[in-house]
């Protein structure tokens, strides 16, 4: 069994999070651009005096598949590297994964990670 660790982080913390994950032994990850908001809400922009509230702010989503035993350490690594202490730092969560297959070889389970 393995776990999927998903983190939504501030875009400017991506490099630090990547380094921390590599240091923790993670060998691959998927990174995508995301947009959303939490308690931070959006921000306002003003064009020729007209104020627009922009709800969704840019974020980065980072996804890592890890063996069960490593999940807690990986979450800590992401939190440690992504944290600035301000509203808008993001979230990290873990979900169980039934099975993983490596496309190149057809391996299943932990050996596919």
């Amino acid at each position: 069994m393995s776990k999927l660790v998903t983190g939504i982080i501030q875009p400017h913390r991506l490099d630090d999070v990547k380094s921390a994950l590599e240091a923790a032994g993670v060998r691959g990850m998927t990174v995508s651009e995301a947009s959303g908001y939490g308690r931070q809400k959006g921000h306002t922009e003003v064009y020729r005096g007209a104020e627009y509230t922009v709800d969704l702010v840019p974020k980065v989503r980072i996804e890592v598949l890890v063996p069960d035993a490593d999940a807690a350490a990986i979450v800590d690594a992401v939190v440690g590297a992504a944290q600035t202490g301000r509203i808008g730092d993001g979230k990290v969560w873990v979900v169980p994964v039934d099975d993983v297959a490596r496309v190149r070889t057809g391996e299943h389970g932990d050996s596919a990670l």
Binding site: V46, Y47, R48, G49
Partner: protein, 438 residues
């Protein structure tokens, strides 16, 4: 004939510069709309080039500068198709600055084009292209050419003996004692286009979501590129309106830049105080406000009074653009707030700041009164005529695209294209390669 080749070269250059303003305007406006309507916005400017260029050659020049009819317009048949305009009795006809009149035609057609194109800023995202093209030809014919005749062709708003100004303060040596000053088109171009924009915005109605949904400019670098092209082209507009390569042209160039620099700062300062930021859209808008304000005044002010005129224009227009939300009319890209307001200010500003004629420069009140009268008459003429054209087109063609087209994007609905690949969702899915029909 011994032409002044220096003047000829400068005026040919000026005409080319002013023509470039309209594609520049296409970028200025195109960047300000949402990505799904950028092509339609730009096509309204390009479409105006096509239609107005054609009607200008056929009857535009003749209606502007042909034989006078009651001080209101030139006879369209007098020089129809430019007959007798370029060559008469086998020799080239002389223009205003001892160069062939063909160059004056070149210069003037570019003014007609940009004036019509300016109006399109009020009509973003929702206007049928075919109705726009018909409007462009009708409005140029019924409003622009007569206005050009009235102001520049010896008509009602000029300094002619039969004009309004002559009726106000009398006649000296066969011309009005206090002649109106509209150096390069504050009334003919900017007040005229600004009023037309307001009238059409009222006829056509608001965009869906106006005032409630965000309608952010999709490409501010386009807006700044457009403002830069407009500024560059405006040297032809203003310095070219000296009709020669002379001291007046030089003064107009310096005044144009002085007013524009000050207007940009005026706009930025206003929004920094009001909204907290000095924005790129504000800088680009301030540039245009300054260029508009100095247009009627470029030959009549000095560089220092130009700074004052420009700074006030930037501040005024920055405040005026918010009015549409309070009053509820969707002048989408602020043609009223920028062109009508700064055009009006520049026109009456000549009566306050004009060298030797302005109220604050020892000229008394008379020039100010004349300027105010021509500005107000221009507003009335443009307003009434545009209302008639707009309502007739509303009745017989319809102005608006369908609700689905407006929401889904007017580019695809009216032109069968999208400005950006992502809007057609072709990038990731590779949809465009599935089927190619030739």
């Amino acid at each position: 004939m011994d032409w002044d080749t220096g003047n000829a070269a400068w005026m040919l250059t000026s005409a080319s510069l002013v023509l470039l303003m309209t594609p520049g305007l296409a970028f200025f406006y195109g960047g300000m709309v949402r990505g799904k309507s950028v092509l339609n916005m730009m096509m309204m400017s390009f479409g105006a080039m096509g239609v107005v260029g054609v009607v200008y050659v056929l009857w535009g020049w003749s209606m502007s500068y042909g034989a006078d009819v009651a001080g209101l317009f030139g006879n369209p048949f007098d020089q129809f198709g430019l007959s007798g305009t370029l060559v008469a009795d086998g020799v080239p006809v002389a223009g205003l600055g001892n160069y062939p009149q063909a160059i004056d035609v070149a210069f003037q057609v570019t003014f007609a084009i940009i004036t019509v194109a300016l109006i399109s800023g009020a009509l973003a995202d929702r206007t049928r292209f075919s109705t726009w093209l018909v409007f462009a030809g009708a409005w140029a014919t019924l409003v622009y050419f007569p206005m050009a005749h009235m102001v520049w062709g010896g008509g009602l708003l000029s300094g002619a003996e039969t004009g309004l100004a002559a009726k106000l303060f009398g006649v000296t040596d066969g011309a009005a004692t206090v002649a109106p000053i509209d150096f390069a088109g504050g009334t003919v171009v900017h007040i005229n286009a600004g009023v037309a924009a307001l009238v059409l915005a009222l006829i056509i109605g608001r965009r869906k979501g106006f005032g409630t949904e965000p309608m952010r400019p999709h490409n501010l670098p386009f807006v700044m590129l457009g403002a830069a092209l407009l500024w560059f082209g405006w040297f032809g507009f203003n310095a070219g309106s000296a009709f020669g390569a002379d001291a007046t042209a030089g003064l107009a160039w310096v005044n144009t830049t002085a007013a524009t620099c000050a207007a940009m700062l005026g706009w930025l300062l206003t929004e920094r105080i009001r909204d907290g930021h000095a924005t790129s859209l504000g800088a680009a808008s301030g540039v245009v406000a300054g260029l508009v304000a100095i247009t009627p005044a470029a030959g009549a002010l000095n560089p220092v009074t130009s700074l004052i005129l420009g700074a006030v224009a930037g501040g005024l227009s920055a405040l005026a653009v918010g009015l549409k939300y309070k009053l509820g009319f969707d002048d989408s890209l602020d043609v009223v707030g920028v062109h009508l307001v700064s055009g009006f200010w520049g026109t009456i500003g000549v009566g306050l700041l004009g060298d030797g004629v302005g109220l604050f420069l020892g000229g008394g009140i008379r020039q100010f009164v004349v300027q105010l009268v021509i500005a107000v008459v221009a507003i009335l003429v443009s307003g009434v005529l545009t209302l008639v054209i707009g309502l007739v087109l509303q009745r017989f063609m319809g102005w608006r695209v369908s609700h689905e087209a407006e929401v889904g994007g007017i580019d695809l609905a009216e032109h069968g294209e999208t400005g950006y690949e992502t809007l057609a969702q072709a990038t990731v899915l590779g949809r465009e390669n599935k089927e190619i029909r030739v």
